[in-house]
């Protein structure tokens, strides 16, 4: 998913002619994408917001592109992946769900100008790509650490057994 997020951002930035002066690559990340991910609940919250953000970006892009445009296809694909991850999280770590139709509290006022909407979408995708990259590295590190710990404990018990 980290790779998919990075590819989506790169395509969006180029397709929307925003690869100028690093407009999208801001350090002012949305609060909900800053991390760190402290647990499944936090990740679920981030992914819920991301799913909403992707829907908004797709809605804006539908006003700018013909049906079937590549950007719309990619946004829909990523949205599906985010929804899939959310479903998995729900399954593994059930949490009291929000009432149907209720959205998270709105963030800062959404831009109304087309360019600002494009830019906002681009910045979210950039932040999402960074977030996913960090998350991926974090999970990989944990996975490696877990395996190391497992090996160490296994070796320790073996030494204990020998002694």
């Amino acid at each position: 998913m980290a790779e998919d997020a990075q590819e989506l951002f790169a395509f969006y930035e180029k397709d929307q002619h925003l690869a100028i002066n690093n407009l999208c690559r801001t350090n002012h990340l949305p609060e909900w994408l800053r991390g760190p991910v402290t647990g499944p609940g936090a990740l679920r919250g981030t992914m819920t917001r991301m799913a909403q953000a992707l829907q908004d970006i797709a809605r804006h892009q539908r006003d700018l592109n013909p049906p079937g445009a590549e950007i719309l296809r990619r946004l829909a694909s990523t949205h599906l992946k985010v929804r899939g991850l959310l479903n998995n999280l729900e399954g593994l770590f059930p949490a009291p769900s929000l009432p149907p139709g209720r959205r998270h509290p709105p963030g800062p006022t959404a831009p109304t100008k087309v360019f600002q909407q494009k830019l906002e979408g681009c910045r979210i995708l950039w932040s999402y790509a960074r977030f996913m990259a960090k998350l991926s590295a974090q999970l990989e590190g944990r996975s490696r650490g877990g395996r190391r710990e497992k090996r160490r404990s296994h070796r320790g018990s073996w030494l204990l057994a020998r002694s």
Binding site: H17, N21, D63
Partner: protein, 925 residues
């Protein structure tokens, strides 16, 4: 008095001028009020002004000159005139000016002056009235105008970027980049795009940056390039059931505007002045349906609109004239062998329909049958004139019988097979008669003629035969559908044979053939025919006695049985192009032409030919080669010229390789091979002439020959040659023996007896240098020793007075007495000879220096043979030719000998004068 009058006139003139001026002054009505507002949505200036009330009261016709100026430009950007007749109501005047530059970009100023039509004097200009641009306000960040404008493709757009106060616009550009006219070295940046195009992107982004890098130094915007919607084409409305009307129209071209900027469609009904309550859906075509209620006549206007414009289309109609029936459904049929009655149902109850049935025949031909619907629940049509046991595919469509509007869709197709009937037409039959002991074997063939129709699922055959005369028992055999031939044995009497086809219903009419009584066969000459690209052309002599002609041939002539084929022709035909996919080039096909009358066929002509002749596959094998001194006879008797050849053998070519490059053999033609080598070619034009004699050859010479057969397809390249050597001519041998061998034998004998000859002619003379004679004290003169007589003490002196000796040694008479030396072995090998130099001068010189010369010929065998030193010069000269012929001695020896011989008579005197002793070895050197 006169002066007084002049003064009065001047005063009068001045008065007149003043009055005129005062009148004109009173007709100038300057602008008393001027107000300007801006409509930013439409980017236009709304100008409102007024003149004095007297002008309104007078209802004057007035002209106004209006000027527009921008703050950044010193000159007026626009000047226009506005003519109006003032009304009594004293309402202010209005005027609108559309700006090509966004009004936000900079301040715009307007002034006006006026002129009454009756006057020729313009009023003073009003003061400039301004509407301020955004450049005058305190912005917190740069701003771009217009923002998100939708521009029609092909038009121009001007954008501006207004920086903050005191800032200069550093960059102002579009992405994707397009050619622009820009001006950015001030607080306001301007950018104009002429003839803007879509460029395949949904929108164009605009970037602006002040001369700083903070976030607030940037401004961004977009604009869209699109098209107006197309006028809805093919707009029409119709109903299937008189309850719901559906209007349809074509979607039109791409507008490049999407989402909420897509074209929007609305339908409006003019008579009721109501919007049509329907929802438009567009895929390939747009449509909109609604329930019509009681209204029968409509005037519907469809409007398509997007931000760039709108288009309309209209349709006025009576619903009862716009019936588009639903497709008929649930088709079923009843049929006989030649008729189908087709039934169907339809959904348009209460509407009289007119229907059309399409019948697709097996040959692909389509027939249409019209019918009117009279039944309440279903409709039907009867289709006649059909073929038995044949599949037909039918389908139906309907339209309103009254006020036909258009056909419904076709119903689903139904395939129907008619019932079986008796086979129609006759079979085409033929036979092959083979005489056997005591009778004949007759092979009967049958096939379905073009006019024959089986009219059933499967057809079997029945063959019947009986004697024509004598009322013999009738015999018959039945055959299954897979058979198309049989063989029967009959005696030599005449027989009547009939063959019939039979299906599940009945028999066909019989095809009859009479096999005549066996008689002797007449041999017919076979005629060669030519093939073409389209087949083999056969023609025959027409005879009026026959009612048909039959040509028979074998499809595969090499096979046995050969798959006999036949084709029947009418009585007026005398030629045919026989074509078959089985015909192959290089195969000989034999055709027999029969004439038939009253079912009796008789052979008329025989033809044979190839579709295309090919060169012979095999070369003639030369079985016999007869050689003479100057000719060679080749024969290839066993070479076949029959049907085994891939073409008619037309003759042979005999090729002979010449010695010279050019072919000079008489009766031949030059033939150049692909490798440029040359052969002589003889042509034999009779294929049965299988023997040929090549004449005018040279004896004892090697030749290569080849024999090739050629057909109408030519001949194959020459690969193999026969090599021959013509015999040696023995007469030449005899001549050679006479001229060479005999002299050679004589020379050999001479050589064998050389010792004897030498002893006889040239006794050996020992070398004086080895003689003791020269072992004395002497002085040297040059290389020669000189014996002083004073040193020599002779033992004895004798005077030789022999006449013989004097005769044999003429030089001995010289004053200087030569010394005769005898070798130990008794051979007299010495001679007295002149010095070579001296020999050339034959003049006797009595005073010449005296020398003693010894020449030893024992070391020169050839000279020993050819030269007898004791011979006189005359004798030597005479003996010269004989020696040269017999011994084939090298010429230079001969010359030397000759020279010596020629000079011999003259040498005598010289020798007398200078006698020298020369070793034999010196002679050789």
């Amino acid at each position: 008095m006169m002066n007084h009058l002049m003064l009065l006139a001047v005063l009068l003139l001045l008065r007149t001028c003043y009055t005129t001026y005062s009148q004109q002054e009173s007709t100038v009505f300057p602008v008393t009020y001027l107000n300007i507002t801006k409509d930013l949505a439409l980017q236009r200036l709304l100008v409102e002004w007024d003149v004095g009330k007297p002008a309104h009261d007078a209802g004057l016709a007035m002209s106004f000159e209006i000027q527009v100026r921008r703050t950044d430009e010193n000159t007026t950007v626009w000047t226009g005139f506005h003519n109006v007749t003032l009304g009594k109501s004293a309402k202010p005047l209005h005027w609108i000016w559309d700006s090509d530059l966004p009004l936000e970009c900079m301040s715009h100023l307007v002034r006006i002056r006026s002129k009454a039509e009756v006057s020729k004097i313009w009023s003073q200009w009003s003061l400039w009235e301004a509407v301020l641009g955004m450049d005058t306000s305190n912005n917190s960040e740069p701003q771009i105008f217009p923002n998100e404008k939708i521009v029609e493709e092909g038009s121009d757009i001007t954008l501006c970027c207004i920086g903050r106060k005191g800032r200069i616009i550093k960059e102002f550009f579009l992405v994707p980049a397009v050619h622009v006219f820009s001006h950015t070295n001030s607080q306001v940046g301007l950018l104009t795009v002429k003839n803007v195009s879509h460029q395949g992107v949904p929108h164009i982004s605009v970037y602006c940056q002040e001369s700083c890098n903070e976030e607030q130094c940037y401004a961004h915007s977009v604009f869209f390039v699109g098209k107006q919607p197309d006028t809805p084409n093919d707009f029409s409305c119709q109903t299937q059931d008189m309850r719901i009307v559906t209007c349809t129209w074509s979607k039109g071209g791409e507008t490049y505007l999407y989402g909420h900027r897509l074209p929007k469609y609305t339908l409006f009904e003019e008579f009721s002045q109501k919007m049509v309550p329907c929802t438009v859906s567009c895929s390939e075509q747009c449509s909109c349906s609604w329930n019509i209620g009681q209204q029968r006549i409509y005037n519907i206007t469809v409007t398509v609109e997007n931000p760039l414009g709108k288009k309309t289309a209209m349709d006025v109609f009576d619903v009862t004239h716009r019936i588009y029936p639903a497709a008929p459904f649930q088709l079923w049929e009843e049929c006989t062998d030649t008729e189908i009655t087709l039934y169907w149902k339809h959904r348009n109850k209460g509407i009289e329909l007119f229907c059309q049935t399409e019948v697709l025949q097996p040959n692909g031909k389509v027939e249409l049958h019209n019918s009117s619907d009279t039944h309440l629940h279903y409709a039907s049509i009867t289709l006649g004139g059909l073929q038995p046991y044949t599949e037909y595919t039918v389908r139906v469509r309907c339209g309103a019988a009254k006020h036909f509007w258009r056909w419904s869709e076709w119903s689903e197709a139904l395939t129907i097979r008619t019932k079986e009937a008796t086979p129609s037409g006759k079979l085409d039959i033929w036979r092959e008669i083979t005489p056997v002991l005591g009778g004949r074997n007759v092979t009967l063939f049958w096939k379905q003629a073009p006019s024959f129709r089986a009219n059933g699922k499967s057809v079997s055959y029945e063959v019947t035969w009986e004697k024509v005369e004598g009322g013999s028992k009738r015999e018959s055999i039945s055959f299954s559908p897979v058979h198309n031939s049989t063989r029967i044995s009959i005696d030599n009497d005449s027989y009547r044979i009939s063959i019939m086809a039979k299906n599940n219903v009945n028999y066909s009419l019989p095809s009859v053939m009479i096999i005549p009584r066996a008689t002797g066969t007449e041999e017919l000459k076979e005629e060669q025919v030519n093939g073409t690209d389209d087949g083999i052309f056969i023609s025959w002599e027409p005879r009026h006695t026959y009612d048909s002609y039959i040509i028979e041939w074998c499809k595969v002539p090499m096979l046995q049985p050969c798959d006999l084929q036949w084709k029947r022709f009418g009585p007026n035909i005398s030629s045919a192009l026989i074509n078959s996919a089985a015909f192959v080039p290089g195969v000989r096909y034999n055709f027999h032409v029969y004439g038939s009358v009253a079912n009796r066929a008789s052979l008329l002509e025989k033809k044979t030919g190839y579709l295309r002749e090919l060169p012979p596959l095999l070369d003639p094998i030369v079985e016999k080669v007869e050689l003479t001194l100057n000719a060679v006879t080749l024969s290839w008797d066993s070479y076949p010229t029959d049907e085994s050849q891939p073409g008619f053998v037309r003759g042979y070519h005999v090729y002979v390789s010449p010695i010279q490059e050019d072919c000079l053999l008489k009766g031949s033609k030059k033939h150049v091979l692909p490798d440029d080598s040359v052969l002589c070619k003889y042509t034999i034009e009779d294929p049965e002439e299988k023997r040929y004699t090549v004449k005018h050859l040279l004896s004892n010479t090697k030749y290569k020959l080849a024999v090739k057969a050629y057909t109408g397809g030519g001949e194959t390249p020459i690969v193999n040659f026969i090599y021959i050597d013509t015999p040696f001519n023995s007469n030449l041998m005899y001549l050679l023996v006479l001229l060479v061998i005999v002299p050679a034998v004589i020379a050999a004998i001479c050589h064998w007896k050389m010792k004897w000859v030498k002893e006889r002619c040239c006794p050996v003379i020992p070398s004086p240098s080895k003689s003791k004679v020269l072992s004395f004290k002497a002085f040297k003169s040059g290389s020669e020793k000189v014996l002083k007589l004073s040193d020599c003490i002779p033992d004895m002196l004798a005077v030789d007075t022999k006449a013989e000796a004097q005769k044999l040694h003429p030089w001995s008479q010289l004053p200087s007495t030569p010394t005769e030396n005898k070798t130990d072995d008794g051979h007299n090998s010495s001679q007295i000879c002149p010095d070579e130099k001296e020999e050339r001068d034959f003049t006797p010189t009595p005073t010449a220096q005296t020398h003693t010369c010894f020449e030893n010929f024992s070391y020169s065998s050839h000279l020993a043979v050819t030269f007898d030193s004791y011979q006189r010069p005359e004798m030597l000269e005479a003996s010269t030719p004989e020696v040269s012929v017999v011994l084939y001695q090298p010429h230079y020896y001969f010359d030397i000998f000759n020279e010596d011989a020629a000079s011999a008579p003259r040498e005598t005197a010289g020798r007398k004068a200078s006698l020298r002793y020369i070793s034999q070895t010196d002679v050789h050197a």
